[in-house]
C-alpha cells in the first residue's frame, strides 16, 4: 500500500536538504546548508513524512518564523494533531474510563453474559462518540469564525463516520448476530445513520394533511425501504380514508405489509419455519402483482415490487436511500431476510461507478469480515489513533484477533495502543491518560512509559509529586531517582537547601545528600550559624543516608549540647566525630577550633586520654599537609594551630593534676 506522505508547509526538500531530530512524539525538521551543493535530495528524504508510520503524520506544523528564502526555520512536526482539539478531550477522557473498566472486567463471565458485557462496552464507547459529536455540532453552530466552523464541521462528519463504522463492527464482530437477528440489527443501523431523509419525513408528518403533501409517497417509500412497516401502514391508512374508491386496494396492500414475516429476536421460531412463512408470503405478493391488483396505482405497484425484492424497483428509489449500504440492507430484507453473517460477502453489491471513498472501502471490508483490513483502512483514513486503538482493543477482548502477529513490535492491539498513548503523552495535559494505556500493553508498555515519563516537564512540586507517584506505583526506581534529582537540583539552584535535601532523601540519593550537606557545612563555616535548623534538627533516621549527612546531623547535635551547656557530652561527641572518621578531614580544623572554648572552661572537661587523642588529631592534620600547602596557609591558620597546641598542653597539665589528685585522695 502506498504510504501517504505529506510535505511540511514551508519546508522545501528540493531546494535544501532537510535534517531530522526525533522526539518521542514530535519530529524537529530543519533545513541544512548542504542542499545547495548536493542538488536533488536522496530518494528516502523526499518528504519528511516518509519516515513515519502509515497515517502517523498528520502534518500539524508549529513553524517558527516565515519560510523566506534565506531564513533557516525549525519545524516542529507533530504526529497527532487531533489531540489538540479541545472538544475531543472529552472523548479521550470519557473513553479512558471505559477502557480501564474493560481491562478490569473479569473474563470469567462465560458465553452469553460475557458477550452482553462486551456489547455494553461497545455501546458505551458509541454513546461517548455521539455525545462528543453533539458538543462539536454545538460548537460549530455557535462559532462565528468560518475557519473554526469548517474545522468543527469536519470533525462532526469524521465522528459520525467513526460511529457508523463502530456500530457496524459491533453488530458483525462484537455481537456477531446470528441469521435473523442480524438483519434486524442492520436495519436499526441503517435507520440510525441514514438521517438525510429525516427532515423530509418530519416535514410531511407535521403538515396539516400529510396525504396531500407532494412528498407523501416518498415518505411511505422511505418507511418501506427501512422496513418500518407499522409507520408505513399508519400513513397509508390516512390515504385510504381519503380515497374511498380504492379502499380495497389499500386494504390488500396493508394486509400484505401486516403479514410480512419478521425474524424474531428470541428463539420462538426456527430459521426453517421463518423461511417457510416467507415463501408463502412471497407467493401471495407475487399473485397480487401478477393479477394487476395494484395496476391502477403506480405507487402501490412499486411498493409491492419492493416487497418482492425486485432489484430494479428498489434501485429506482436510489435517491431515498442515499447510500449503497442502505440499498444492500433493503435488498437483503426483501430478498434474503434470513441471511447468515457469512453469506453477506457472497451477496456483495454492485461495483461502484466511481472510485470508492475510504468510508465505503472500510464498510465493505467489514461486510466481508476482513477485520484487519477494516483496522488498516481506518488507520490510514482517520486523523487520529483513538478509534483504531479502542476498537482493536475491544475486538481483542472478544478474542477475535489472537492469531494475528505483526512482524514488528508485539501484536496489533498493543502496537495501536502504544501509538495512541504516545500521542497522549505528547500533549501538555493529556499525558496522565496515557499512563493507563501503557499499563495495559504487556510487552512494550513499560519501556514506553519509562521513556515518556522522564520527558514530562516538572514546573511545580505538585506536578512532580504526581509523576513521582506514577513511577513509585510501578517500581520504576530509575525514574524516581531521576525525578527527585531534577527537583533537588532545581531547589539547590534556587538556594532552597532544605527542599533539596528533602528530595534527595526521598530518592535515597546518598551522593546528592552528601553534596547538599557540604553546602550546609560551607554555609556554616562562612556565616558561623546554621540555616534551616527546623530541617536538620528533624532528620531522624534519614540521617543515615550518607556519611556527610550523618556528620551534619551529629555536628548540629554537638552545637545543641554545647548551647545547653552539657559540656562533657558535647566534648565526647566532638572527639568521636574525628576518631570515628565521621567528619571529613577538611572539617577537622573547624572541629578542633570548636574544642578551644571547651579546653578553656574553668572546670576540666577533656580527660587526659581524650586530650592525647585531640593532640593526635591535630598532629595528623598538620602532618598530613605537604610543605607546599603549609607555605600557602596564611598566618591565621598557623596561629590557630599554635593556640590549639598551647590550649591542649595547658589542659593536659590541668587534667594530670586533677586526675592525680583524684587518684591520690
Amino acid at each position: 500500500a502506498a504510504v501517504p506522505s505529506q510535505v511540511v508547509p514551508g519546508a522545501d526538500p528540493s531546494a535544501r536538504q532537510l535534517c531530522f531530530a526525533w522526539g518521542p512524539a514530535e519530529v524537529l525538521v530543519c533545513e541544512t546548508l548542504f542542499g545547495r551543493r548536493g542538488g536533488s535530495p536522496s530518494p528516502g528524504e523526499g518528504g519528511p513524512g516518509r519516515a513515519l508510520l502509515p497515517g502517523a503524520l498528520k502534518g500539524c506544523v508549529a513553524g517558527t518564523g516565515e519560510g523566506g528564502p534565506s531564513s533557516s526555520c525549525v519545524f516542529v512536526v507533530r504526529k497527532d494533531q487531533d489531540i489538540y482539539i479541545q472538544t475531543l478531550r472529552k472523548l479521550f477522557n470519557e473513553s479512558h474510563g471505559i477502557f480501564i473498566g474493560l481491562q478490569r472486567s473479569e473474563e470469567e463471565l462465560a458465553g452469553k453474559s460475557r458477550k452482553a458485557q462486551l456489547v455494553q462496552v461497545s455501546k458505551n464507547y458509541r454513546s461517548v462518540i455521539r455525545a462528543c459529536m453533539e458538543d462539536m455540532h454545538q460548537a460549530a453552530i455557535s462559532t462565528r469564525d468560518p475557519a473554526l466552523h469548517s474545522q468543527y464541521s469536519t470533525q462532526v462528519s469524521i465522528l459520525s463516520a467513526v460511529e457508523l463504522i463502530w456500530n457496524l463492527c459491533e453488530i458483525l464482530f462484537v455481537e456477531a448476530a446470528a441469521a435473523g437477528p442480524l438483519l434486524l440489527r442492520l436495519l436499526d443501523w441503517v435507520r440510525l445513520h441514514v438521517c438525510d431523509v429525516d427532515n423530509m419525513v418530519r416535514e410531511v408528518l407535521s403538515s396539516e394533511n400529510p396525504s396531500k403533501h407532494e412528498l407523501f409517497w416518498n415518505v411511505v417509500d422511505v418507511f418501506v425501504l427501512q422496513g418500518r412497516m407499522d409507520e408505513a401502514r399508519h400513513l397509508l391508512s390516512k390515504e385510504a380514508s381519503a380515497n374511498p374508491t380504492s379502499v380495497n386496494m389499500y386494504k390488500i396492500l396493508d394486509d400484505l405489509m401486516k403479514k410480512m414475516p419478521v425474524p424474531s429476536l428470541g428463539n420462538t421460531q426456527t430459521l426453517t419455519e421463518m423461511e417457510l412463512k416467507w415463501q408463502h408470503w412471497h407467493e401471495e405478493c407475487q399473485r397480487y402483482l401478477q393479477d394487476g391488483t395494484f395496476a391502477s396505482n403506480p405507487h402501490m405497484e412499486s411498493i409491492c415490487k419492493i416487497l418482492l425484492g425486485d432489484e430494479d424497483a428498489i434501485l429506482e428509489k436510489k435517491e431515498l436511500m442515499t447510500t449503497w449500504y442502505h440499498f444492500l440492507v433493503t435488498r437483503l430484507l426483501y430478498s434474503h431476510p434470513t441471511v447468515k453473517p457469512m453469506e453477506l460477502r457472497m451477496d456483495m453489491f454492485l461495483g461502484g461507478e466511481s472510485s470508492p471513498e475510504p468510508l465505503d472501502t472500510i464498510l465493505m471490508a467489514a461486510f466481508e469480515f476482513e477485520m484487519h483490513q477494516v483496522i488498516k483502512e481506518c488507520s490510514i483514513a482517520l486523523s487520529n489513533w483513538w478509534f483504531v486503538a479502542h476498537l482493536t482493543d475491544l475486538l481483542d477482548h472478544c478474542k477475535l484477533l489472537q492469531s494475528h502477529n505483526l512482524y514488528f513490535g508485539s501484536n496489533m492491539r498493543e502496537f495501536l495502543l502504544l501509538e495512541y498513548a504516545s500521542g497522549l503523552f505528547s500533549h501538555h495535559s493529556l499525558w496522565q491518560l496515557g499512563v493507563d494505556y501503557f499499563d495495559h500493553c504487556p510487552e512494550y508498555g513499560r519501556v514506553y512509559l519509562e521513556l515518556h515519563i522522564e520527558r514530562i516537564p516538572l514546573n511545580t512540586e505538585q506536578k512532580a509529586l504526581k509523576v513521582l507517584r506514577i513511577c513509585e506505583q510501578r517500581q520504576m526506581h530509575e525514574q524516581v531517582r531521576s525525578i527527585c534529582k531534577i527537583m533537588a537540583m532545581k531547589a539547590l539552584r534556587n538556594n532552597r537547601l532544605g527542599s533539596a535535601l528533602s528530595w534527595s532523601i526521598r530518592a535515597k540519593d546518598a551522593a546528592f545528600a552528601t553534596l547538599i550537606s557540604d553546602r550546609f557545612l560551607k554555609d556554616y563555616c562562612e556565616r558561623g550559624c546554621f540555616s534551616d535548623l527546623d530541617l536538620i534538627d528533624n532528620l531522624g533516621p534519614s540521617m543515615l543516608l550518607s556519611d556527610r549527612l550523618t556528620f551534619l546531623g551529629k555536628y548540629r547535635e554537638f552545637h545543641r549540647l554545647y548551647g545547653e551547656k552539657r559540656f562533657s557530652e558535647a566534648a565526647k561527641l566532638l572527639l568521636m566525630l574525628m576518631t570515628a572518621h565521621i567528619a571529613p578531614c577538611s572539617f577537622w580544623m573547624t572541629l578542633l577550633t570548636d574544642a578551644l572554648p571547651l579546653l578553656e572552661q574553668k572546670e576540666v572537661i577533656f580527660s587526659a586520654e581524650q586530650t592525647y587523642e585531640l593532640m593526635r588529631c591535630l598532629e595528623d592534620l598538620t602532618a598530613g599537609k605537604s610543605d607546599k600547602q603549609k607555605f600557602q596557609d596564611d598566618d591565621v591558620e598557623t596561629m590557630k594551630v599554635e593556640m590549639l597546641r598551647l590550649a591542649l598542653a595547658r589542659n593536659l597539665a590541668r587534667v594530670i593534676v586533677k586526675e592525680g589528685t583524684l587518684e591520690g585522695s
Binding site: Q86, T87, R89, K90, N93, E94, H96, G97, I100, G101, H428, S429, Q432, L433, D436, N459, T460, E461, Q462, K463, L465, K466, R469, Q473, N494, N495, R496, L497, G498, S499, S502, S531, D532, L533, D534, L535, N538, G540, P541, S542
Partner: protein, 374 residues
C-alpha cells in the same frame, strides 16, 4: 450515585469552591468556581447548578452544571478561596496571587488586583524565578499565602504591598495554610510538620511546632474544626488522616489509615463538623462520619451497595468530649464511605456547603452532588 451530575470540561481541574452564601441564607449554594492546571491556557470558571428550570418531572434531575463565565489565568491554579461573595483569590504556579471579581449582573470575570511574584526564589526583581504559591486562605480583608519558597505573606485586599512577609519561614515547601484564630495561622510542610504562627508577634519564628514522628511524611492539606478550634485535621503524602489536638502534645492524637496516595484536601463540614471529607491522588473521595451512634445501629451496615467500614482508633484521654477526640469505646467508631466507585484519576479538590458537594478531577470532569445527606 444517581444524584451526582458530571460534566466533562476539557481541562484538568485543580480546585473547586462553592461561592459562600450570605449569612442567614437558607437555600443551598448555586454557584461554584473552578480552576484548571497543566494546560497551556488555564482558566478560572464560574458555574451555576441552581437552574431549577431544568428539573425533571420527578424533581430529582437537576441538569449538569452550566458555565456562566471564565477568564484566562496565567500558570496552574494552585489554590483558590472566595474572599467574599464576589471576589476570588487565586494562587498561581508562577508565584502570583490574583483577586478576581465576578460581576453577577453581566456574568463576567475580571482581574481585580494582583500581587506578582508574591512568592519567588532568590531575587524578586529578576524576570524569572517565581516560586509556586501553594496555598491561600482568606479572612476578609486579610489574605495569607504560602509557597514553595517557604515564605508566608499577609496581604490585605485593596492594599498594594504585603502587610507582612516572613521570608524563609520554612526551609522546606509549605503546602497549605489555614486560619486558626483571627491572628494565628497554621501551616503544613513537606517534612511532616504542622506549625502555628502568631501574626501579632514580630518574631519570624513559629509559636509552636508539631510533627509526625519517624518518617517525616509530607503533609499536603490542613483544616480546622469549625467550632472546636483546637481540633485540626491534616492529610499526608501516604494518604493518612491525622487528627491533632493543638492544646496538648506535639504529636497527632490519632492517625487514620485512609487513601493509598497523596491526600490533596481535607474539609470538615462547615455546619455539621461530625462529617469530614477527604480526596486523594488515588481517585477516591471519602466521607468520614462520626455522628453514627453505634449502639443504636446494627454494625456492618450496608447502604445501597456502598462499602461501609467501621474504624476503631486509639485516643488519649480528653476532657472535652468531641467525636473526633472521643475515647468512649462504644462511640469510638466512625463510618467511612467512598463516594466514588471505579475512579482512576486523581480527585484534586472538593468543597462542601450545606447539602452540596462539588469535586474536580484529573479526568477533566467536575461532579456535583446536591443531596449529600439524602
Amino acid at each position: 450515585m444517581e444524584d451526582v451530575c458530571a460534566k466533562f470540561v476539557s481541562q484538568k481541574i485543580s480546585k473547586a469552591r462553592w461561592r459562600p452564601l450570605p449569612a442567614a441564607a437558607l437555600q443551598p449554594p448555586d454557584f461554584f468556581a473552578t480552576g484548571s492546571w497543566d494546560n497551556e491556557d488555564n482558566r478560572i470558571s464560574i458555574w451555576s447548578v441552581g437552574d431549577l428550570g431544568n428539573a425533571g418531572l420527578n424533581g430529582e434531575y437537576q441538569g449538569e452544571p452550566q458555565l456562566l463565565c471564565d477568564i484566562r489565568h496565567n500558570g496552574d491554579v494552585m489554590d483558590m478561596q472566595f474572599l467574599d461573595q464576589e471576589r476570588i483569590v487565586v494562587a498561581s504556579s508562577t508565584g502570583a496571587v490574583t483577586v478576581f471579581r465576578h460581576h453577577q449582573n453581566n456574568q463576567t470575570l475580571s482581574a481585580n488586583q494582583r500581587w506578582d511574584k508574591a512568592h519567588y526564589h532568590v531575587d524578586q526583581d529578576t524576570s524569572c524565578g517565581g516560586a509556586a504559591c501553594t496555598g491561600v486562605i482568606c479572612n476578609n480583608p486579610e489574605i495569607v499565602t504560602v509557597g514553595e519558597d517557604g515564605r508566608i505573606n499577609l496581604f490585605r485586599a485593596d492594599q498594594k504591598d504585603a502587610v507582612r512577609t516572613i521570608d524563609n519561614a520554612d526551609s522546606s515547601t509549605l503546602h497549605a495554610v489555614t486560619f486558626l484564630r483571627t491572628t494565628e495561622i497554621l501551616t503544613v510542610n513537606s517534612i511532616g510538620q504542622l506549625k502555628i504562627w502568631d501574626l501579632r508577634q514580630q518574631r519570624n519564628e513559629p509559636s509552636q511546632i508539631f510533627s509526625l514522628t519517624g518518617d517525616r511524611v509530607p503533609l499536603h492539606c490542613v483544616d480546622r474544626h469549625p467550632n472546636q478550634q483546637h481540633i485540626v485535621a491534616t492529610g499526608g503524602q501516604d494518604g493518612m488522616l491525622s487528627i491533632w489536638d493543638i492544646r496538648q502534645g506535639t504529636m497527632p492524637v490519632s492517625l487514620l489509615n485512609a487513601h493509598e496516595a497523596e491526600m490533596w484536601e481535607v474539609h470538615f463540614h462547615p455546619s455539621n463538623p461530625d462529617h469530614l471529607f477527604t480526596c486523594s491522588e488515588d481517585g477516591s473521595l471519602w466521607h468520614w462520619d462520626t455522628s453514627t451512634d453505634i449502639s443504636e445501629k446494627p454494625s456492618f451496615l450496608h447502604q445501597g451497595g456502598r462499602s461501609t467500614t467501621y474504624f476503631s482508633h486509639n485516643t488519649i484521654n480528653q476532657s472535652v468530649v468531641s467525636a473526633w477526640l472521643s475515647n468512649d469505646p462504644t462511640k469510638d467508631r466512625m463510618e467511612i464511605t467512598n463516594l466514588i466507585p471505579n475512579q482512576t484519576l486523581s480527585v484534586n479538590s472538593l468543597d462542601i456547603l450545606g447539602p452540596c458537594l462539588v469535586y474536580g478531577t484529573d479526568a477533566e470532569a467536575i461532579y456535583v452532588n446536591r443531596q449529600l445527606f439524602a
